[in-house]
């Protein structure tokens, strides 16, 4: 398979303009005849659906939640980056591009990453116009703060609820287009399969989560905006319903899956406290602006944090990375925490956490300033743990968070299936092997609002003839397969719950395919997951039927896909014999324990093709024309 990234010609700063100049247009009268399906109604999906409808396309939008306002973009706390240089601190599009490329350890495309930075400034304009109440200075201008991995202040925020505010803006714009009759919204609906006609994406099969009915929808193009798949680890910062099923179904129908093992472990989440725990709540990275991370210098220190004097505390990020300190990027901060915890310096009841301490910041700025900046995060911390973090340090621990990997897409955000697009977190394009904080809201929004609506024309212009029809045998066939799959799950009638198997899968994935990986462990993990799969299909128990609301059935169907995805993630991690970004192979590290990247051998995007249960690797070589990859140092 030839992977054509379709990078436009010209200088880096001209590429997107050159692309737009040459892209095909469709006249408004014809756009009305074209249908687009958007699966997912988060920031990327709602933005894309609303904008495509504004342009004149007929849009069907789907989400599994009861309303588009619930999508997990809502939970992003810290902010959204943009190269506005409002702080006059030397920022520029180029610097933001470089920070992002370096942050991703030079495993993303230059042209995509540059476009992300280029479109960041108009995105802020857009959201301000849509009524997002971003933080302001007293003079009325927009305020910024810092985030990990950069030395300028380019993060825009709305308290600790930036994701919520951006999502609600997108949701409002989407419902505006629903009211206008341009978008048909299907809530409580889950995509069960993708339908191909003559090799092109022409529709989906959907399960109505209230009635259990299977429904067919046809369109001229299908856009997946289904978010990340870190629930493969079970315990993660994601919503419980987040899943990888839509992209997994697309993968099995021919879409290549890129860099599946590149998953970000976030350094500042609440630690696990029991086996029954379902969720690891994130504490925004923005807290690292003012909080200092430390552990005791003595192993197994039993004293309370307040009893440990300054000279007996190890501020290990400041010690190891003096120039970035507590704002080291996420992969590095997480690994450093793991290193201390594994070495026996962890704190908390289960010794699985480190301290995030605001004592110095409160002394310096006063309690009121800290409350103004992070009040809602401190409240949230207190609600969950019962602890007042103004008085005693927060306990934090690394947790599975973001998926850099996803469906392989070209510069137009099209997958390897013609007519199938992937936007937002569910694609692999801009973040390389590690995503910088506050770039996630950015990518989801830019993909949905600005890029896809400009690139989809290029495909749809050639799709004018032959409107799709749900009576086509391909729809019948796909629906039958879905029905068989559902019946098979319900027919097992075994003895173990879905959650039992999810815990098992999560344990293996967290142990062998998270912050650090090695050959032996990954090989063992693949064996173990195969066993979990075999046992799942023999012994899972799902009560209730398929023609009703059945939350256990939903979980079982999602888990069946996660199990297969887990195998691919381990396969990918095993194949990449280097360390880069979040992918840390223990065999490939420098003398001081940093990632050892091997550019001569592994400067490519791994794109996996599904072939009857096997995975075949294709390589998209990364060409660096404008930037020379260097050793990524934050010391």
């Amino acid at each position: 398979m030839l992977l054509d990234s379709k990078i436009p010609e010209g200088r880096l700063e001209d590429k997107w303009r050159n692309y737009q100049l040459k892209a095909q247009l469709i006249n408004p009268a014809n756009k009305k005849k074209l249908r687009v399906i958007v699966v997912g109604a988060g920031l990327a999906g709602a933005g894309a659906a609303a904008t495509l409808a504004e342009l004149g396309y007929r849009v069907d939008c789907f989400c599994y939640q009861d309303s588009a306002r619930r999508a997990h973009s809502v939970a992003a706390q810290g902010g959204v980056n943009a190269a506005k240089n409002y702080q006059h601190d030397g920022d520029s599009v180029y610097r933001m591009f470089y920070d992002t490329l370096k942050g991703g350890d030079f495993r993303s495309r230059e042209a995509n990453t540059y476009r992300l930075a280029e479109l960041s400034a108009p995105l802020i304009d857009h959201f301000v116009q849509q009524g997002v109440p971003f933080a302001r200075e007293y003079g009325g201008t927009l305020e910024n703060r810092s985030f990990g991995g950069v030395q300028v202040q380019r993060t825009f925020y709305a308290r600790g609820q930036t994701g919520q505010q951006l999502l609600l803006a997108a949701y409002s714009q989407l419902y505006k287009m629903i009211a206008a009759g341009k978008v048909t919204m299907h809530t409580r609906s889950e995509m069960m399969d993708l339908v191909l006609v003559d090799g092109k994406a022409k529709g989906i099969i959907v399960r109505d989560l209230v009635s259990g009915e299977l429904k067919r929808f046809a369109a001229d193009a299908v856009v997946l905006a289904t978010g990340g798949y870190s629930r493969v680890f079970r315990l993660s910062t994601l919503a419980i319903g987040c899943n990888g099923s839509a992209i997994w179904k697309a993968h099995k129908k021919g879409a290549c899956f890129a860099a599946p093992s590149f998953t970000q472990i976030h350094p500042t989440a609440l630690p696990q406290s029991s086996e029954a725990q379902s969720k690891l709540t994130l504490m925004s990275e923005s807290l690292r602006n003012d909080g200092r991370i430390w552990v005791p210098k003595t192993k197994g220190d039993q004293r309370t944090p307040g009893e440990i004097p300054e000279e007996e505390r190890d501020y290990y990020l400041e010690r190891r990375y003096p120039s970035f300190g507590n704002l080291a990027p996420r992969d590095i901060a997480s690994r450093a925490a793991k290193e201390r915890i594994d070495a026996g310096y962890g704190v908390g009841r289960l010794k699985n956490a480190v301290y995030l301490d605001f004592k110095d910041a409160i002394a310096r700025f006063g309690l009121e300033v800290i409350k103004d900046r992070y009040g809602n995060l401190f409240n949230m911390y207190q609600k969950i743990t019962g602890i007042n973090a103004y008085k005693t340090p927060m306990l934090i621990s690394p947790a599975a968070h973001f998926s850099m990997g996803g469906l392989w897409v070209d510069y137009e955000l099209m997958t390897t299936i013609p007519g199938l697009y992937a936007v937002g977190e569910c694609n692999f394009s801009d973040h390389g092997a590690n995503r910088l904080g506050a770039n996630s809201l950015l990518q989801a929004s830019v993909d949905g609002y600005f890029i896809l609506p400009n690139t989809i024309n290029n495909y749809l212009a050639g799709a004018m003839q032959g409107s799709p029809d749900t009576n086509h045998p391909a729809f019948e066939e796909a629906e039958r397969e879905v029905r068989n799959h559902v019946d098979r799950v319900l027919g097992i009638q075994g003895s173990k719950t879905v959650d039992h198997f999810h815990r098992e899968l999560g344990r293996v994935m967290w142990q062998e395919c998270a912050m650090s990986r090695n050959k032996k462990g990954l090989e063992k993990a693949i064996d173990q997951i195969e066993k979990i799969r075999e046992e799942f299909w023999r012994d899972v128990s799902v009560t209730g039927g398929d023609k009703e609301m059945n939350t256990e059935l939903e979980k079982a169907l999602r888990l069946a896909d996660f199990i297969e995805l887990g195998i691919l993630m381990c396969t990918d991690a095993l194949q990449r014999e280097e360390s880069c970004g979040a992918h840390f192979r223990e065999e490939y590290q420098t003398d001081d324990g940093e990632a050892f990247r091997k550019d001569e051998e592994y400067s490519y995007v791994s794109a996996w093709e599904y072939q009857k249960g096997d995975f075949v690797l294709h390589k998209e070589q990364l060409k660096f024309e404008f930037v020379q990859p260097t050793v990524r140092s934050y010391k």
């Binding site: 939970a75 007293y138 919503a239």
Partner: protein, 248 residues
């Protein structure tokens, strides 16, 4: 820790429904309330029984999808908290905990503890936006917004759309929800162009959905997970009057 959940079971909108009791042991203090229900559901599956349908998604208090009436209070015994943030340490060993869905005519029950809150979306549809297309925005700092105005807009914008305000209100009023959205947008300069139609259309839809009127009992602001102030409703009423006078 051992408790007895007394849970409302209803197999669809037309089913009559009834309470059923479920004693559950081996719970721990640090389990969240929803994790305790997960635990109960796993027991039910092993016993070959249908699970209890209840809603959740983010489990960190921001998506607004969870919402259960617990011991007679929306989202449980604490003020300003979502159900997912409630932990079992708030209950005592041996407690009986009464678990009901949101009860409001405008939120019909789908199954067990799951209700249909799409009425909220239909209120939003009527004007909770700024009619400006993607790609048409002016430079972000071209319009200055004083910090106090942005902060007040944000206070109202924080609404998570969970419906606790409606569920707790004796009139099932959606005034706090509607007011919060209108005030968020109408306080900002970008929202001014459509301020009067927004107020009229959204409040009209609110009435059409069958939500009751507000009689200022203040119950909503106590249960609101974001602590959105009831003064928003007074502000809404003033805006409604103004929009009628303006005649637009």
């Amino acid at each position: 820790m051992q408790v007895t959940f007394k849970i409302w079971r209803q197999n669809g909108p037309k089913d009559k429904g009834k309470f059923e009791s479920y004693p559950v042991d081996d719970l721990t203090d640090d389990m969240s309330f929803l994790e305790a229900l997960d635990h109960l559901n796993e027991r039910l599956v092993v016993a070959g029984k249908q699970v209890i349908a209840f809603e959740y998604d983010c489990r960190e208090g921001i998506c607004g999808q969870c919402g259960i009436f617990i011991n007679g209070r929306a989202h449980g015994p604490h003020d300003h908290m979502t159900t997912c943030q409630l932990h079992m340490r708030s209950f005592k060993d041996g407690d009986t905990i009464v678990v009901e869905p949101w009860r409001a005519a405008s939120f019909p029950i789908i199954k067990d503890l799951v209700v249909d809150r799409s009425a909220f979306d239909r209120i939003i549809e009527k004007g909770a936006y700024i009619s400006s297309q993607t790609g048409t925005a002016p430079e972000a700092n071209a319009i200055l917004i004083p910090k106090s105005v942005a902060d007040k807009a944000m206070d109202a914008a924080a609404c998570i759309g969970c419906g606790a305000c409606v569920a707790t209100c004796k009139n099932s009023s959606a005034a706090l929800f509607t007011a919060a959205k209108i005030n968020h947008l109408n306080r900002l300069p970008q929202g001014k162009a459509e301020q009067h139609t927004r107020v009229k259309e959204m409040t009209w839809q609110m009435n059409l959905e069958g939500f009751g009127s507000c009689t200022f009992t203040g119950a909503c602001e106590v249960e609101c997970p974001e602590g959105i102030s009831i003064s928003n409703i007074a502000e809404l009423n003033a805006r409604l009057l103004k929009s009628k006078i303006s005649g637009s």
